[in-house]
Symmetry: C2
């Protein structure tokens, strides 16, 4: 299935859930504003991509699980932008949800996007035991043992010098667990043995880590071009990032080594189950930084 077809299935799942429903229309407007804010749908796409690599025939129920994941991601962006949090007026060149609809509505839109996705999964056409596993892991990845804990740790670490380990813990929770969920969810849906599920989840975690390191590196190299001075000097004063902690070259090497580990783990899984890794390796390689 082509990428566009996969993304279309995800859009349908979101549209079916929010488009037709008779509920507070201003809430729906606010929710859909952020759902359609131009996100790249990285997480839902990865879920369907990994499923297909595992030779599972993709069906609408899988897109509903992918859409549920995107809903939680979107809710977290709305709340992150709030005045009490990052206080951002724009995201992707458009007004943030609270600038457009007011703070109260933005809080409630985020709340809805946290509470709704579980019904979407629970009502999907999949075996009950699989749905229970998917729900348990999505909840654990996003709540007080996952994303929300990561946001708290990030907030508290803002004006402190963090160790590499502390930085990794923050990212593993704040962004890593929802980036690993597509791999975890695909493994659950494909009913892989628990041992292989763990390996596939590890691939997701490694990709999530590389994603964050790359993001930090690109931030630095971008600002280097903009401000026209040596980034290393700024880095000393900056808040904790991988380049700040490791130096730029070392951070690039760390990103690429993490991707090597992801590839090695993928290769390992292909020895155990039918797994067409080509498209996943392509995703991995797209994150590699040329030194």
């Amino acid at each position: 299935m082509k990428k566009q077809e996969k993304l279309a299935l995800v859009e349908s799942a979101l549209e079916d859930f929010y488009g037709d429903q008779q509920f507070a229309s201003s809430l729906r407007e606010s929710v859909l504003y952020s759902i359609h804010a131009g996100g790249k749908r990285i997480r839902p796409f990865l879920l369907l991509e990994v499923l297909e690599a595992l030779q599972v025939t993709i069906k609408p129920a899988h897109a509903q699980v992918a859409a549920a994941l995107e809903m939680i991601h979107t809710g977290s962006l709305i709340h992150d932008d709030l005045p009490a949090m990052d206080d951002d007026d724009y995201r992707r060149g458009r007004l943030t949800n609270h600038k457009k609809f007011g703070e109260a509505m933005a809080i409630l839109a985020g709340d809805a996007l946290f509470l709704d996705p579980y019904a979407l999964i629970a009502q999907a056409d999949l075996p009950s035991q699989i749905k229970v596993d998917l729900i348990a892991n999505l909840s654990l990845a996003s709540g007080s043992l996952g994303m929300v804990a990561g946001q708290v740790l990030d907030m508290e670490g803002e004006h402190q010098h963090l160790s590499l380990e502390e930085l990794q813990t923050i990212h593993a929770n704040k962004t890593g667990k929802l980036l690993a969920y597509p791999f975890q969810a695909a493994a659950i849906i494909a009913e892989l043995a628990p041992e292989i599920q763990v390996k596939l989840k590890t691939v997701g975690e490694l990709i999530g880590l590389a994603f964050q390191v790359r993001d930090d590196v690109l931030d630095v190299t971008a600002s280097f071009e903009e401000i026209g001075k040596t980034p290393q000097k700024d880095l000393q004063a900056e808040k904790s990032t991988y380049p700040a902690l490791l130096g730029l070259e070392e951070a690039i090497a760390f990103c690429n080594q993490t991707l090597d580990q992801a590839n090695a783990k993928l290769e390992e899984i292909t020895q155990q189950v039918p797994f067409e890794t080509e498209s996943i390796v392509k995703v991995v390689e797209s994150l590699r930084i040329n030194a």
Copy 2:
């Protein structure tokens, strides 16, 4: 099982989920502050009470479902109190969550309480199909088709003259669905026939409605004693409440008639399944207003 034993099971379920876990300790502190803020545990108690009336032997898994419901209720109170919402400094005589921990932490504590409960139910020792049903209905009762929609409608209706029907729609969503959930959840756990599940849910909805009408009536009669003038005059100018729309006497009659309907529905169910309604009728009667 005595009321205290039931409540102790619910406290254990909450404590087991939040007490032992290694996660951001400040987040846990903020979450537990509101969990232990002196709420009466009406919803979880009702769930276990109805289960027992249906002759189901209560076990810890049922208390976990009840605790999940209380978590969502608590999260909604934290977000309701935020400056952008009702802007309350105190709840039950204690500082509200954001006054104690700051707005950012209060937003995140509420988020955690919306995201976590689904893992708690998913991991409970119950059959998968039952857990899927419980999760679907809790999500629908709380998200953009339930509680959150009700909050939006309530917010939008604040400075408007509402019809009785509009007022009922607001309350049915804002508070009614989470008050009906204990009945719905007990019916799911007891594996009652769908037709009887609907009847039991209706009992919960009627009790939820009476609860709200009673609340409005008590507000008025309290303020009558305080301000020492005829409430009817004030009511004309007040925001929409049942006494404002119906008059005080009529509102009292409406509350009591609604309770009569709940009792009649309970009686109907006893004709179809073993159901010891005594303790539920006691709850119903505790809401009756003596004219």
